[in-house]
């Protein structure tokens, strides 16, 4: 069997979900015959006629349609062409989908796929990471798979979940990340994973940054024999504080790492929770490393310095270890 990529895993999960549950349907721009901007839905219209619907360029209405369909008992999987464009649908997602169960007792089982994160040359409006924005709102589940197996199992789980899920899939991983197959440990949504065990410092991260953190950890392993623990959050809402605190208890040092903008967000949440609940476990002030506080630049030279890299992560870790 040839290798499966991260985007293959998403495709496989959509296919399997549609096969198993006739109430699942796909809605988004260019997803029908064209198969989607990233080909996540290629061939699914032919396989499931009438259940893969091309949408007009109306993100607000697309989200509204998905919400209505979900209230009516269908399981829509909404594809935003880029996570960035979900800003147009923001009102429907945070005010309608997120509040609906609390207000009325009727759940909204929709999944919104957000092709997220930066790739070289994509610029300010095709590179954003929106997980922190959505995680802020009660009622939304926000998942950020970093591996091929998680991309697969977490999409299956997201579609089965009765609550609205914001599924943040990282575009940089689409074709680069490969695995022998789709099998994995299939942890539930809400549980983090120790991707790489260690004892000298903990990196808490998610999505594509898991791989950059592992590279940084390998660099420090070679250069000084440091053993860095990498925690993959997998879902940022709910946040698995127990696994984070347990890791910090082992290492005494925390680096919270993310690709999103630095003000607030997932890394700030991780640090604040560790400080509040595990302050006594810390041997050094916790560190955050995020993208720079500017829009995401177009040119690859600027872009690769805008986001954390294995080098910049390793540098922060060295300072943390030296404290």
């Amino acid at each position: 069997m040839s290798d499966v990529t991260y985007i293959d895993a998403i495709h496989a999960a959509l296919d399997e979900s549609m096969d198993q549950d006739s109430s699942v349907f796909l809605y988004g721009q260019d997803i029908g015959k064209f198969g989607g901007a990233f080909k996540a839905t290629k061939g699914l219209l032919e396989k499931y006629p009438g259940r893969v619907l091309d949408a007009p360029i109306s993100e607000d209405a697309m989200a509204g349609v998905a919400i209505g369909a979900a209230i009516e008992g269908a399981r829509p999987v909404l594809e935003m062409q880029f996570a960035d464009f979900s800003s147009v649908a923001f009102n429907q997602i945070i005010n309608q989908a997120a509040t609906h169960y609390y207000r009325t007792g009727v759940p909204v089982p929709l999944t919104m796929r957000l092709p997220s994160g930066g790739t070289p040359g994509s610029g300010p409006f095709h590179s954003q990471s929106m997980e922190s924005i959505y995680a802020h709102y009660p009622g939304l589940v926000v998942v950020t798979p970093a591996t091929v197996a998680d991309a697969y199992s977490m999409l299956l789980d997201s579609i089965k979940l009765d609550d609205p899920v914001i599924y943040c899939e990282h575009k940089f991983l689409y074709r680069w990340l490969k695995s022998k197959d789709l099998a994995g440990d299939h942890l539930p949504i809400g549980q983090a994973r120790i991707t790489r065990p260690g004892k000298h410092a903990t990196v808490v991260t998610y999505s594509a940054m898991v791989h950059e953190a592992v590279r940084a950890a390998e660099m420090l392993q070679k250069d000084g024999g440091w053993e860095i623990e990498v925690v993959d959050l997998r879902s940022v809402k709910p946040l698995d504080t127990d696994t984070i605190i347990a890791s910090v208890a082992r290492t005494g040092r925390l680096l919270a790492l993310g690709e999103a903008f630095p003000w607030g967000g997932v890394t700030a949440e991780v640090v604040s929770r560790v400080c509040a609940d595990g302050f006594h476990l810390l041997d050094a002030p916790p560190v955050r490393l995020n993208a720079k506080d500017t829009p995401i630049p177009y040119h690859p030279k600027l872009w690769s310095s805008h986001r954390p890299t294995p080098e910049s992560i390793a540098e922060e870790l060295r300072k943390l270890l030296a404290y």
Binding site: A61, G64, A66, A69, Q96, Y102, T104, V141, D163
Partner: protein
């Protein structure tokens, strides 16, 4: 399929007219009571009334079938809610904060609904219900249950300026969904008059741009509203796609009970738009032989009694207890973070 508007003097038409007027009258009596309760400080939060829009609201909802159709009322649709079959107690419990109401104190006033029974609970963001109704209809289509079903919602003139209105109506048109979208053109969005809201001569002209059928009606004329709504709903039901109904009238109240509406143009008040659809409705009932004035008076007494009972029950009931609320924003408890 032919337009199957029934002649209003047929028996079924007669019953329909009486039912519409009863909903209008009940809404007026209820809203007068809500206004009094607000002024007496008995209601926490705002009170938003539909005075002047009863004919439009009730006539649209009266053409819907609860349990089959979808209805998304907005801020001035008490008459429509009643015509659709919402119990008065749902209204009084929500306004008075009873834990037994459909929103359990988690939301209030006009933000109430029973989505499982086809009636959505509005959010404050205008136009947001349009694509949601479209989505409910789309899901029914996917289940093979759309045949003969209609989804209806009402918005105001101000809503026509929103992106949600444009995206929602366009999407419904692309999918050829049986959506009836009524614009109650009551001349003001809060305090903003129409000349600061849109520049087109007539809102119904927008229908052409969306490729949907447009209908215009004098929103103060009860019989005309019933006829036009019946036609629009019948056409949608028969597969003619979305219908845009523009009904014109004047809002005969402030935006909410906190607002005296003193900015409303006096010339509009004395114009035909400023007529009260209830008064016209009574005239039409009597002159058309739909009901006698004695019957109308009896209906008014009955409505007053039902409203009084619904208020009395809700007033006796407990409000929500913060120590008993489960504070769950997720149906799956595993997803709920405790802090």
């Amino acid at each position: 399929m032919d337009d199957n508007t029934k002649d209003l003097d047929q028996t079924s038409g007669r019953e329909h007219v009486r039912r519409v007027f009863n909903a209008m009258l009940t809404a007026r009596v209820l809203e007068n009571k809500l206004g009094s309760l607000y002024k007496a400080g008995k209601i926490v939060g705002g009170v938003y009334l539909g005075k002047g829009q009863e004919a439009v609201s009730a006539s649209m909802a009266s053409c819907l079938e609860k349990g089959k159709d979808v209805y998304a009322p907005l801020i001035r649709d008490q008459a429509g809610r009643t015509a659709f079959g919402e119990e008065l107690i749902d209204c009084t419990r929500t306004y008075l904060g009873s834990v037994n109401g459909p929103m359990r104190g988690r939301d209030g006033n006009i933000h109430r609904g029973r989505p499982a029974e086809g009636m959505l609970a509005m959010i404050s963001h205008l136009g947001a219900a349009i694509p949601v109704v479209a989505g409910m209809l789309l899901a029914k289509r996917l289940k093979g249950e759309l045949n003969g079903v209609v989804g209806a919602t009402c918005v105001g003139d101000g809503c026509t300026s929103t992106g949600a209105f444009h995206e929602g109506l366009n999407t419904a048109a692309v999918e050829k969904l049986p959506l009836v979208l009524t614009v109650a053109n009551n001349q003001y969005a809060y305090s903003t008059p129409n000349d600061r809201q849109f520049a087109c001569e007539n809102l119904v002209d927008k229908a052409i741009g969306y490729g949907v059928r447009g209908h215009s009606v004098d929103g103060t004329d009860m019989l005309a509203c019933i006829e036009v709504m019946h036609e629009a709903v019948s056409r949608a039901r028969a597969g003619d796609g979305p219908q845009l109904v523009v009904a014109s009238m004047l809002r005969l109240t402030g935006h909410g009970e906190h607002d005296d509406g003193s900015y409303v143009d006096a010339a509009l008040r004395s114009s035909g738009l400023g007529r009260d659809s209830i008064e016209i409705g009574i005239k039409q009932l009597v002159e058309g032989g739909f009901a006698s004035i004695e019957e109308v008076e009896q209906w008014q007494d009955d409505a007053a009694n039902r409203v009084q009972e619904a208020v009395a029950i809700a007033q006796k009931e407990d409000g929500p207890d913060p120590y008993k609320d489960d504070w769950m924003a997720y149906s799956n408890a595993e997803m709920q973070m405790q802090k």
